[in-house]
Amino acid sequence: MHRFSCLFVLLAMLGLAGCEPEQQSVDAGFAGLGEQAEGFTEVSPDRRFEFPADHGAHPDYRIEWWYVTANLTDEDGREWGAQWTLFRQALQPQTPLEAEAGWNSAQVWLGHSAVTHAGGHKYADRLARGGVGQAGVRVEPFEAWIDDWSLAQARDTQGQDSLSALSVKAAGEDFSYQLNLTADRPVVLQGEQGYSRKSEGDQASYYYSQPFFSVEGAIEWEGQRHIVTGQAWLDREWSSQPLAANQQGWDWFSLHLDGGEKLMLFRLRSTDGSHYYSGTWIQPDGETQPLAPGAIELEPLDETTVAGREVPTRWRLRIPSRAFDVTTEPLNEQAWMGTTIPYWEGPIRFGGSHTGVGYLEMTGY
């Protein structure tokens, strides 16, 4: 779910974020984007997922992403976080064939990557045109890439899901990583069989995850190589509708519980204070239970000044029906992604009724 953020990032990159109204009059092409939105396929509750085809791109939807976060530990016991994201944005609806037709492709790709530890946080981004091979997603063997960054199937998975053995790499200034991800359970559908509501209205997305990755690999930080192991979480999501007009940001959690359970929680903040809550409780065997909006309580505890903004970096999370009551602490409170539209994204630790690690993303601050 994360990550309507990317939508805004892209919109801003492409001058569409609506903050410069005088440019809208420049031509019909831009104003026409609203009309073009009509041409995109809408998200509806009755869709059946088909794998591996749905691991690939859906250019008839406006926006889509492949999102990996990893909580890692090096040989000295030091904790790390790593993030790898590829966003796709269609400037106009296209069939998959059109989307790959050279420069005629209206697909724009955006990559974000970051490495975080208690003493530092580095990030990088990439931007590319689709259609010619600079960036894209291939279903078989699976690969999502932009420039020299990639998330690729590591070997023949022999009947298992193609996402169950992945190799992910990215590099930025003074950092790089290469991680091997393996999962022994199938992907998990979020929401109602993968239909994830984002508001009381029509806003929704298709959303599935692979939260059961175990990781080994290496991180290079300022010339130093660190061998790391840990767990990772992959999110896949696509949609055509932006957020509701009054939704200004969100807070999103992906949690690896020490007992083997996984938990996804988010709230979308409305300007009128009526926040929209959602979540999924995932058993160690992959069994999912959607959490009703009323079952979730998220309470910011402490704010930190990050890049000149007040961001709540300590939280109390409660699901009374599951006797779940924890307090989260960031690994590095300054995990700021200073990209075009900036947001906070970093590894966290939590304790209380349950313990474990996870990732937190906060936008709109």
Partner: protein
């Protein structure tokens, strides 16, 4: 205080109401000086802006690029391969297209396709596009970005669509100021479609920091490092603009001579007025304030007129300028003049500074003037004589400096300093030389009237010397520049005759076409020989150079003129044992016969001994002729760039028709010798038409200077002539004598201007041209041209003298008598 300043100013200005002609002269001087200078600056500014736009297209001056070894388009897979290897590269495809305007006229434009998401964006035009309308640019139908000036020249407006000659329709046009003139900027995909180059790129831009140490390319990527040539434009055209600037400055200085003369006269005539002002209780400070304010007003009025006419002048000349820059350097300069406020302000500031310089001495004079004035004409005359001697000494010093500069000067700048020293030194020596000549004439005089004639001429000299200096400057500049242009024209024409040995030249569009043309030609009995050549754009020690491969054919030895060569140069070249190089390349790199040139090729360094040197006028880049066979070995996959044909003269038109029918060769793809010559000469004429226009104007300015000075002397003249009248000479006789005096002085100046002009021409040909263009012209004499110019100068002097002399004829006894009364 303000009120008092108002009254003082009003009193000072009342002088101009009584002497309107004097005021007009001063304004005309300022007007001409500012007009010519700002006009030239406008042209330079315009060109520079165009270069900046071209160079700044991708943000960096010396943008590193990757191109194919033979500069041919290459597969865009290289782009993907490099990106996937982490290289920050961005694809570009460039080509020429012909656009049919609304009036049916065809215009050739450069089409550039870019990929806005990957382009290095710092400060670039493309960066601007990203902010303006990126989605419109990317999403079909897309956009064609074009400079507003080019759009206007085409007679189109934003939102229009246009059809290319090859049948493709451009995306809707949209004007964007930062786009270089003459360029269509489209998305890379659109460019591939428009140019029929699907999946092909012409270069890859590389981010500056990454390209800084040119890392080695991955093995499978067969590209080479290069630097975008748009950045070279500034360098290649520098000398051209420096020439223009020098001319503009000359005109400015000559104009200031006029201002100086008129301002000095006005001060002389207002001595009494200033003293009365002081006696009636105006403080010196207030007087100086008022005088400065008066200068300021004059400068603003004259300057504004000047800047306006400078703009008009530049608008008139900008077409020629753009054409010659395009012809000479391939540089695109907008043909529509667009100037910012800074240019206007600079023009006014220049006028103000000029006025202060030219009129400041009279204000200084006013400051030193005591309240109680005892007019001492003799003292003033003594001062003048002293100043003639002082000027002459400074003139000699300047000429000495010029002499030293000939030996030690090594740059274009010192070349122009040499010109400045020569001209100014000669001008400052003029009054003394004239005065000595007049003294000689006096010794020869027999009659008392003759005696008076020479003595009086000498006395006139001090008042006229400035104007005569201006005349000398203008004439010398005309003779010098004229000699150079004429010499160039002669050399250039005969050189063209020799050099364009083939009868037909054609440029195939592709190797496939070249092959079929060759086959077709070999079946034509009228074709005596085919001379194909291959070209590679390269750099020799960082200087942009074209390497041209020629086949072994006796025509080269027979018709290609070499300035100097080792024995058997062409044979050795054919055997691949060296290269002949253009004169400017030899000069730029200081290469002599027998030295070796190192060329970078895809498979390493190619060392070529220099076998000969040839003139290559009009080409700013260096050129290098090598064996075609060797060139094709070193750069595999080169396509034929042009074919020269030797054809039976009678069959030329049939052959042209046949080629056009069979291969659709049009425009510059197929051109016969005569047309090529015509085109080359046209470029040449355009190059010097701006120069010629400015030169003529300078002569005009000198005539105005002379007129002003004569006018200023006319009053004093009457009192000098009155005694002669009293002694029985008729006014008409006096008028003739005055006219004869003027013409005599002017003739002497003209005669003196000829050697100065020749010295100037020598400096231009032997020093400045060599520095600026890298070629040396043979020396020619043009006595008829000198006579014509001198004739024009005398005519100008005659015109300038008519009104003052007429005044003497028309003057009545009362006015002459009054001269005595006033002197009493």
């Amino acid at each position: 205080m303000i009120e008092r300043l108002g009254w003082v100013l009003r009193t000072l200005l009342s002088h101009w109401r009584r002497h309107p002609l004097q005021g007009v002269c001063l304004l005309v001087g300022l007007w001409l000086a500012t007009g010519l200078w700002t006009g030239v600056q406008a042209l330079n500014e315009q060109a520079r802006d165009s270069y900046d736009r071209a160079a700044g297209l991708f943000g960096e001056d010396n943008q590193s690029v990757l191109v194919s070894p033979g500069n041919q388009p290459f597969d865009q897979e290289y782009f993907v391969t490099l990106r996937r290897a982490g290289w920050p590269v961005s694809p570009v495809l460039q080509g020429s297209v012909t656009l049919n305007g609304p009036d049916g006229a065809a215009t050739r434009l450069r089409l550039t396709g870019i990929e806005p998401l990957s382009v290095p964006e710092q400060g670039s035009v493309v960066g601007t596009i990203q902010q303006v309308d990126l989605v419109g640019f990317l999403v079909p139908p897309g956009r064609t970005w074009i400079a507003p000036d080019t759009l206007a020249e085409l007679g189109l407006s934003s939102g229009d669509t246009a059809q290319l000659a090859n049948g493709h329709a451009l995306p809707p046009l949209q004007s964007l100021a930062a786009v270089p003139p003459g360029m269509l900027l489209v998305d890379i995909g659109v460019a591939q479609r428009m140019l029929d180059q699907s999946g092909r790129l012409s270069q890859l831009l590389v981010e500056g920091a990454f390209a800084a140490n040119q890392p080695p390319l991955p093995e499978q990527v067969a590209l080479r490092w290069d630097v975008r040539d748009e950045g070279d434009l500034q360098r290649l055209t520098d000398s051209f603009h420096m020439n223009l600037t020098a001319l503009g400055l000359l005109a400015f200085i000559v104009g200031l001579f006029i201002v100086h003369a008129a301002a000095g006269l006005a001060m002389e005539q207002r001595r009494g007025l200033l003293q009365t002002l002081r006696a009636c209780g105006t403080s010196l400070r207030l007087v100086v304030c008022a005088l400065l304010l008066e200068l300021l007003v004059l400068a603003l009025v004259g300057g504004s007129l000047g800047v306006l006419s400078g703009f008009a002048l530049a608008s008139l000349l900008v077409g020629d300028l753009a054409a010659s820059l395009r012809g000479l350097y391939g540089a695109q300069v907008a043909g529509q003049l667009v100037l910012d406020s800074q240019w206007w302000l600079t023009g006014l500031a220049m006028s103000l500074a000029g006025t202060l310089l030219a009129g400041g001495s009279s204000v200084l004079k006013a400051m030193r003037m005591p309240v109680l004035a005892w007019a001492r004409p003799q003292a003033w005359r003594d001062a003048q004589a002293r100043s003639i001697r002082r000027l002459a000494i400074m003139g000699v010093l300047l000429l000495l400096v010029a002499g030293i500069l000939i030996y030690v000067g090594e740059s274009l700048l010192t070349g122009f300093m040499l010109l400045g020293c020569l001209l100014l030194g000669a001008a400052w020596l003029l009054p003394l030389v004239l005065s000595l000549l007049l003294r000689g004439g006096r010794k020869l005089a027999r009659s008392p009237l003759g005696h008076w004639f020479w003595a009086d001429s000498q006395q006139q000299l001090s008042g006229l010397s400035l104007a005569l200096m201006a005349l000398l400057l203008a004439l010398a500049a005309n003779i010098g520049v004229g000699s150079m242009t004429e010499g160039f024209r002669l050399t250039f024409t005969s050189w063209l005759d020799q050099r364009l040995a083939a009868d037909l030249y054609l440029r195939p569009e592709s190797q496939a076409q070249a092959d079929s043309i060759e086959q077709w030609l070999s079946r034509q009995p009228s074709v005596q020989a085919q001379l194909p050549s291959w070209q590679v754009q390269s750099r020799v020690r960082d200087w942009p150079t074209e390497v041209s491969g020629v086949i072994d054919h006796p025509l080269y030895a027979r018709r290609w003129p070499l300035i100097e060569a080792v024995p058997g140069a062409w044979d050795q070249l054919a055997q691949g044992r060296g290269a002949v190089i253009s004169e400017q390349l030899a000069y730029r790199l200081d290469i002599e016969l027998g030295d070796a040139i190192e060329l970078e090729t895809p498979d390493g360094i190619w060392t070529l001994p220099v076998l000969g040197r040839y003139a290559d006028y009009g080409n700013p880049k260096g050129q290098l002729l090598v064996s075609a066979e060797q060139l094709n070995q070193r750069w595999p996959g080169l396509e034929v760039s042009s074919i020269g044909l030797l054809v039976d003269e009678a069959a030329i038109s049939d052959l042209v028709a046949g080629l056009q029918d069979n291969f659709e060769l049009g425009g510059f793809s197929l051109i016969d010798q005569a047309a090529l010559k015509r085109y080359s000469q046209q470029v040449f004429e355009q190059t010097f038409s701006a120069t010629a226009a400015l030169n003529t104007l300078t002569l005009g300015v000198a005539a105005v200077a002379l007129f002003t000075s004569l006018l200023s002397l006319a009053d004093a003249r009457l009192s000098q002539l009155a005694p002669l009248w009293a002694m029985g000479l008729r006014p008409s006789r006096l008028a003739w004598l005055s006219l004869a005096q003027m013409l005599m002085l002017a003739t002497l100046t003209c005669v003196l201007a000829i050697p100065v002009g020749l010295a100037l021409a020598w400096c231009l040909v032997e020093v400045v041209n060599v520095q600026a263009f890298g070629w040396r012209l043979p020396w020619h004499w043009f006595p008829f041209q000198w006579l014509t110019l001198a004739g024009f100068a005398l005519l100008a002097v005659l015109l300038a003298s008519i009104s003052p002399v007429w005044r003497i004829v028309r003057v009545g006894p009362t006015q002459l008598l009054r001269q005595f009364a006033h002197n009493a």
